[in-house]
């Protein structure tokens, strides 16, 4: 990666402790250093409690880094007092609990919140809301006047995501976006993520499950007890089975199949880590 590629996120030696200085102090991050380049999709993986949520919230500017560490997001040092307000429109964070993010009584108003807050003209706000709802698969007419608290869990997640999209952020942070979703919703959400990347956004996804990530993420950063344990490329994740297992993570099922076959001498070179890509690679070996 040439130095000329801009860093969307640059973190050096970040340690974070909740309620530092009190008897209830809980360390969350320990000496984390990482870099996310503009336009990448990076996955933060790790078991529950590894520090993924804390790291995302630091990148969003919600948690201020202590003096020892340096966190730069989109070129702005988050320790600066004005960092949070300067980053509001440029960074979007999707919380694990969708209900926590819903502010307004009606769906349309809620999705419009951040652009409105930023002072954008009414027509533009409306257009953004419409596009955002379309992107997540919510019918504009049907949902814009629905009450936010009457929605189902999956619908709430979509509204929260639309609210994030409406601000057209350069950096998108997703905290366990597919947790608890049924397969159809999960597929459509991943589609939204792909489209976002195609539009040039940088995306960081935190996930405790490895499924869906290999075909999506360029890189996987593995967190363990608040430390960066390893970084693994997304395209051939299956080569890193032992390393992932040492961190308490399991390879996704298809990757473990590729890994087993490689262990038995079948060196597949799958073009993609989905069933068709792997089947194709296997057939190529068979007919070679």
């Amino acid at each position: 990666m040439s130095a000329a590629v801009k860093a969307a996120i640059s973190i050096r030696n970040l340690s974070y402790t909740y309620m530092a200085g009190t008897p209830l102090a809980t360390p969350a991050l320990d000496g984390v250093s990482l870099r996310v380049n503009a336009g990448e999709i990076v996955a933060l993986v790790g078991q529950a409690g590894a520090g993924k949520t804390t790291l995302l919230q630091v990148c969003d500017g919600l948690l201020r880094p202590p003096a020892t560490g340096m966190v730069q997001v989109l070129g702005i040092d988050t320790a600066e007092p004005q960092a949070l307000s300067r980053l509001r429109l440029r960074v979007g964070l999707l919380f694990q609990r969708a209900e926590a993010q819903l502010l307004e009584r009606f769906v349309g108003d809620d999705i419009a919140f951040t652009p409105r807050q930023a002072g954008l003209p009414r027509d533009e706000v409306r257009e953004r809301v419409r596009q955002a709802m379309q992107a997540v698969g919510l019918d504009f007419e049907e949902f814009k006047d629905r009450r936010t608290f009457n929605l189902s869990g999956g619908e709430m997640r979509k509204v929260a995501l639309a609210g994030l999209l409406a601000s057209r952020p350069e950096l998108v942070l997703l905290d366990e976006p597919t947790a608890g979703l049924d397969p159809e919703s999960r597929t459509s959400l991943l589609e939204v993520v792909r489209r976002l990347r195609d539009q040039g956004a940088t995306i960081v996804i935190a996930s405790s499950s490895m499924e869906d990530l290999p075909g999506l993420a360029d890189r996987l950063i593995i967190l363990n007890h608040g430390r960066v344990a390893a970084e693994v490329p997304g395209a051939d994740v299956w080569r890193y089975g032992p390393l992932l297992r040492a961190q308490g993570l399991d390879l996704p099922e298809l990757c473990s199949i590729v890994e087993h076959l490689a262990d038995r001498g079948l060196d597949l070179q799958p073009r993609s880590l989905d069933p068709d890509g792997i089947a194709e690679a296997i057939c190529r070996i068979w007919t070679s």
Binding site: Q47, A48, G49, S152, G154, A179, G180, L181, D182, P183, E184, S185, S208, S209, M210, E211, G248, L249, D250, P252, E253, L254, S256, I257, H260, L261, R264, G265, L266, P275, D276, I278, A279, E280, I282, C283, I285, W286, T287, S288
Partner: protein, 284 residues
């Protein structure tokens, strides 16, 4: 032929607002079975689960648990101690501020004498592996541990059937595995397990899958037969587990490839054993 433990006959259910959630379901659940319940969101899985322990009463239709009609007044105690249920959100099942006191909640409501209460609490917590944590407050536990506390609370009722309504959907993979292990352990001791889930990798571990589609019974049979029926899976809005998807992709390209494979190990084995078109650099 053993008598069914739970018999569901032409059960339908409409919510008070008018939404028809279940339509004319008829099936039997036998002792010791491990049954997976699948279907897209809103298909009626949760409603069906609640018919099994009398939280909801069928109208029309009948549900009998060990011969007792769930609609008969005063049957709640018997039915709900025979069929125990675990729900999706761990926190919303835990009542007490100390783990062991929460596990005792159900048996306390049955009016059991103190000695029995302690014995049941101990047995249940040991089964789920949380006996060492019995004096901890629930808010300091992880989601997975909380859910196991909820399961212990259900097991303390000594039920003959354990119903888990998407009990793992809010858990991380490691916690899911542990909960699934507990369910299999309980099942191996003779308890019927009904496992409602979105995750086909979990569902394939059952001997029997029941699939619901818009409130109707769409499938009742083996996992392998369901996953190979692509048309039905599409209608149900489901995808087979990844290993099965790969097997299907291979079978589409190579008609001689075995069908109905569910697990990664099976697929790996079949790939290695498959006859090749021409000799190639294959080491085994």
């Amino acid at each position: 032929m053993t008598a069914p433990f739970i018999a569901v006959r032409h059960a339908s259910y409409t919510y008070p607002g008018g939404r028809l959630a279940l339509h004319d379901i008829t099936l039997d659940l036998g002792p010791g079975e491990f049954v997976a319940l699948v279907g897209r969101n809103g298909c009626g899985k949760s409603t069906f689960c609640r018919l099994l322990n009398g939280l909801l009463l069928p109208n029309p239709g009948v549900v009998t648990v060990a011969g007792i009609d769930t609609r008969s007044p005063g049957s709640e105690l018997m039915v709900r101690s025979a069929v125990a249920m675990v729900f999706q959100v761990p926190d919303n099942q835990i009542v007490a501020t100390v783990v062991e006191q929460d596990v005792a909640f159900g048996p306390e409501n049955l009016g059991l004498p103190q000695e029995q209460l302690w014995r049941r609490v101990r047995d249940a917590l040991e089964l789920v592996g949380l006996w060492e944590q019995r004096e901890r407050p629930p808010h300091l536990l992880s989601e997975g541990e909380k859910q196991r506390v909820a399961i212990a609370g259900a097991l303390a009722m000594q039920p003959r059937c354990l119903v888990l309504d998407e009990a793992t959907s809010m858990l991380d993979p490691a916690a899911r595995k542990r909960v699934l292990e507990v369910a299999h352990l309980v099942n191996s001791q003779g308890t019927t397990v009904v496992w409602a889930t979105h995750d086909m990798a979990e569902a394939r571990q059952a001997q029997r899958i029941i699939a619901l589609d818009h409130g109707r019974l769409a499938y009742d049979g083996s996992p392998a037969a369901l996953f190979t029926d692509t048309a039905l899976m599409a209608r149900l809005g489901l995808l087979p587990p990844p290993a099965a998807q790969l097997a299907a992709a291979l079978a589409a390209r190579r008609p001689s490839f075995p069908r109905g494979l569910l697990y990664p190990e099976q697929v790996v084995q079949a790939v290695l054993e498959a006859p090749v078109a021409s000799p190639g650099p294959l080491a085994s």
